[in-house]
């Protein structure tokens, strides 16, 4: 998080790529910045919110954020939006027309690709959008370059009157390095010029603009040939020369300090002539890019022989230890790798839900029910797909749980006739893309029970605000959407909308059983905030009375990380059946006293750490 006052010009700061981009956006005199949070891009807007003189917002989705930025650009203001790779797919509808209208004030789109897939549902190369939309793509290689290129991007955008894509990857966004920053320039919006033939994209107006788009692309290609963004680093060993973009450039320099490298900072459109001249000087040309062979294919199409994905991996991150052996194979040898002990096999440690997370109650309850098909969505609650709940059957993209649930209901055959279709979605995801799906469910009379998990945060990305939290990006009060009323407006019958406390398992269970029985759309809204935010108030912790614990393991099924199995035993029942027992302990220091695990414990072995208390009991179905 940034300081209250931006650091003075010429300071050398230790910034992540995201922080560096934010600094540059502010310095460039940008007036409007918008985003929907998404790893690894989230911190850009978070950081921008700390700067004065920039309007910053969390938009409900990426398409809206891009539209907000375009609106500002039309006023002649400098505008910016940020998103993760899958977000650009959402925004692409607006993007593909924006490239035809062009822009007025400089508009920069930072798109962060999750190369290596740390927290995304796919790995995709957003540079394709540059080719698809005929827009320039800038690819910084570290935080300092992310800073510098962001400033350049605004100028390039204004020179060519089109959006510029700043393509980042996880290794830019989340890598910290030293960044020397500069001065803020004041840019006064030039004002709106009425020009319907430019801004109103009906066919008659759009057609004459298409040739202009290709003229612009040719001008950009010419600029790329001589641009300082595409520098040549000479090397003494001409046996292999590299063309590299983004952080791959740093890995190349690290692994092959003596090789010449043509670095592509402006990688779309390509400086084909410059690359051809470079190729002629080296014995082998190797293109190093993350992730798709984009540059490679374009070079081959231009008749320039090169290596790329024939020797390098097609997916995942590149790194010096990936490059060295790949290039060594080109010369028929094996690269000496540093000596090290073999990697050890240690249990996997997948991410898990937090201690006392309100979603625990939801997934525990779902896991106790039979005959459900559960359509899941993107957010913390996707972790319900993991152990011990195994309570999600699908997860595709933001908001998709709604439409998919309707499709499951309508598409089911006799085999699934008895199954109940449940869709699970978070508050922010629902507002992002879920609302339309729910409307489709009500309109088409889908038999779907929607669990709307309102934890008042975009939990997965660190608890950002949205229209359901009652706060704006700077923490200022904002109108708060009423989900019950919203769902009613979308066509759900009032009596089919329930608000329940996810810490009260019997209530939740009853609500789910009743609503899944009724053959019409229903919504169960849970109302407990994320434990990481919102002044979460922990209650008194619990502990386990060893003498009472029967080892049934019911509390373990709740999935709270504060519950630990201390001893396992096998019991042989009179019937001869073997039953595994797990005796537990509650880590009192971590327990927040939410009371979830207390409810399924039949022998009432879980008691307040201070004084024994009566507990409720939830019967299994």
């Amino acid at each position: 998080m940034g300081a209250p006052l931006p650091a003075p010009a010429a300071s050398r700061l230790f910034l992540s790529g995201n922080e560096a981009v934010a600094r540059a956006v502010w310095e460039a005199g940008c007036k409007v910045a918008a985003a929907y949070p998404g790893t690894p891009s989230t911190e850009i807007l978070e950081e921008l919110a700390h700067y004065p003189d920039v309007y910053a917002e969390w938009s409900v989705n990426e398409k809206v954020s891009l539209e907000v930025a375009l609106g500002a650009s039309m006023m002649g203001a400098r505008a910016f939006c940020a998103m993760k790779h899958v977000g650009l797919n959402v925004a692409s509808d607006a993007l593909m027309t924006m490239t035809v209208t062009g822009t007025a004030g400089g508009l920069v789109i930072a798109v962060a690709d999750d190369v290596g897939m740390s927290s995304s549902q796919n790995e995709q190369d957003s540079r394709f959008w540059g080719r698809f939309a005929h827009l320039p793509v800038l690819e910084p290689a570290d935080a300092q370059e992310a800073y510098a290129m962001t400033r350049v991007a605004f100028e390039l955008a204004e020179r060519h009157r089109c959006p510029v894509i700043l393509r980042l990857t996880t290794r830019i966004c989340h890598v910290k390095g030293r960044v020397e920053v500069g001065e803020r320039v004041a840019v006064e919006p030039a004002g709106f010029t009425k020009d319907p033939r430019r801004w109103v994209m009906v066919p008659g107006n759009a057609k004459p603009r298409l040739p202009l788009m290709f003229e612009r692309e040719a001008a950009l290609a010419a600029e790329a040939e001589t641009s300082e963004l595409n520098p040549l680093f000479d090397g003494s060993d001409l046996s292999v020369g590299f063309v590299a973009s983004g952080p791959a450039f740093m890995h190349v320099r690290e692994a092959f300090p003596d090789a010449p490298v043509l670095k592509l900072g402006l990688s779309c459109p390509l400086p084909v002539h410059k690359i051809r001249a470079f190729a002629a000087r080296v014995q082998h040309l190797v293109v190093v890019e993350e992730t798709e062979p984009l540059v490679e294919s374009e070079l081959k199409a231009a008749g320039i022989a090169c290596h790329g994905k024939d020797i390098l991996p097609r997916l995942g991150e590149l790194a010096p230890d990936v490059l060295r052996p790949a290039v060594a194979r080109l010369f028929g040898g094996a690269a000496p790798a540093p000596a090290h002990v073999p990697a050890q096999q240690v249990f996997p440690r997948p991410p898990t839900m937090c201690v006392a997370c309100p979603h625990l109650g939801v997934y525990y309850t779902l896991s106790q029910m039979r005959n459900l098909i559960i359509s899941g969505d993107i957010g913390c609650y996707t972790l319900g797909a993991g152990h011990p709940w195994n309570a999600l059957d699908t997860c595709i993209s933001m908001g998709a749980s709604m439409g998919m649930a309707l499709g499951m209901d309508k598409g089911r055959g006799a085999a699934d006739a008895n199954k109940k279709v449940v869709a699970v979605i978070g508050d922010s995801t629902f507002l992002h893309m879920g609302m339309q799906g729910l409307l489709d469910i009500t309109y088409n009379r889908g038999n779907v029970t929607v669990l709307l998990l309102d934890n008042r945060a975009v939990g997965m990305t660190g608890g950002q605000d949205n229209p359901a939290t009652g706060r704006g990006i700077r923490g200022e009060p904002a109108p708060r959407v009423d989900f019950a009323m919203l769902c009613e407006a979308l066509g759900v019958a009032r009596e089919r909308i329930r608000v329940v406390d996810p810490y009260q398992l019997p209530v939740l269970f009853k609500a789910l059983r009743e609503e899944t029985k009724i053959e019409e759309p229903s919504v169960i809204i849970t109302n407990r905030p994320c434990v990481l935010i919102d002044h979460y108030q922990p209650a008194k912790p619990y502990r386990v009375l060893e003498e009472r614990c029967t080892g049934c393991g019911n509390c373990v099924d709740v999935g709270c990380p504060a519950i630990h199995v201390i001893r396992r035993e096998t019991e042989v029942k009179p019937s001869g059946k073997e039953v595994a027992l797990s005796f537990v302990r509650i880590e009192t220091a971590a327990c927040t006293g939410c009371g979830l695990c207390v409810q399924p414990c039949a022998p009432e072995a879980i008691v307040c750490a201070e004084a024994p208390q009566p507990v409720q009991f939830l019967r299994k179905q």
């Binding site: 390095g177 540093p338 000596a339 090290h340 898990t352 595994a580």
Partner: protein
């Protein structure tokens, strides 16, 4: 370690333990000496109890932010099994500083996987030099598990290519500006870590005779 050489430090643990904060402070110390510094976290949904590693590289000029397996000069493990997980990152002859405190994940709890019986012994069996001590217990003794972070920083202090005092200052400066009431206890945590690792080193050397 000479200045022209890049120093590679790998800090590992699980989300929520303060791995990133500790590495950040270490980075600040290196920056204050004028080194070029790069720091990166290796992915994982780190806030949710998953695996976290933080790579810190500093020297005259740092290019790639990632440490290659077999090139870490120091491995600092905030959790026992996690230290074992990253053992292969160490270069031959380098040292691992290891908290023997265990954090058992749900997949082990529900019986799907086993937690290693003795991660320290397994590390040593690989021929690695391990200075193991219970940083979690030391932190709890001082009243807060979160102090484990500073204990681990203290443990690193005498194994860096710059004076321990520089790191100590970076730790204390951070608290002085954010939580002044925490300065004294963190100073103590730092010294406890320093001493604990020195004792562990002594014990380790006798054991290997």
């Amino acid at each position: 370690m000479a200045r022209h050489k890049t120093t590679n430090i790998l800090v590992c643990g699980i989300g929520g333990q303060g791995v990133m904060t500790a590495t950040e402070i270490l980075a600040e110390a290196a920056l204050s000496l004028g080194f070029d510094v790069k720091k990166t976290e290796v992915a994982g949904m780190s806030q949710r109890g998953g695996v976290v590693t933080s790579h810190l590289r500093f020297g005259e000029r740092v290019l790639s932010p990632q440490i290659v397996p077999g090139e870490a000069d120091l491995l600092v493990g905030f959790e026992a099994a996690e230290t074992l997980r990253w053992a292969h990152m160490l270069r031959p002859g380098a040292v691992a500083l290891m908290n023997v405190g265990r954090l058992v994940p749900p997949v082990v709890n529900i019986g799907l996987f086993d937690y290693p019986d003795d991660p320290v012994a397994e590390m040593r069996a690989l021929g690695l030099t391990v200075h193991a001590f219970d940083a979690s217990a030391l932190a709890l003794k001082l009243g807060d598990i979160r102090l484990g972070n500073t204990v681990m920083l203290g443990a690193m202090a005498d194994r860096l290519p710059f004076p321990a005092e520089v790191l100590r200052q970076a730790v204390l400066a951070r608290f002085a500006s954010r939580k002044p009431q925490w300065v004294a206890v963190n100073r103590e945590a730092f010294e406890l870590g320093r001493r604990a690792v020195a004792e562990a080193a002594l014990a380790g050397s006798t054991a290997s005779w």
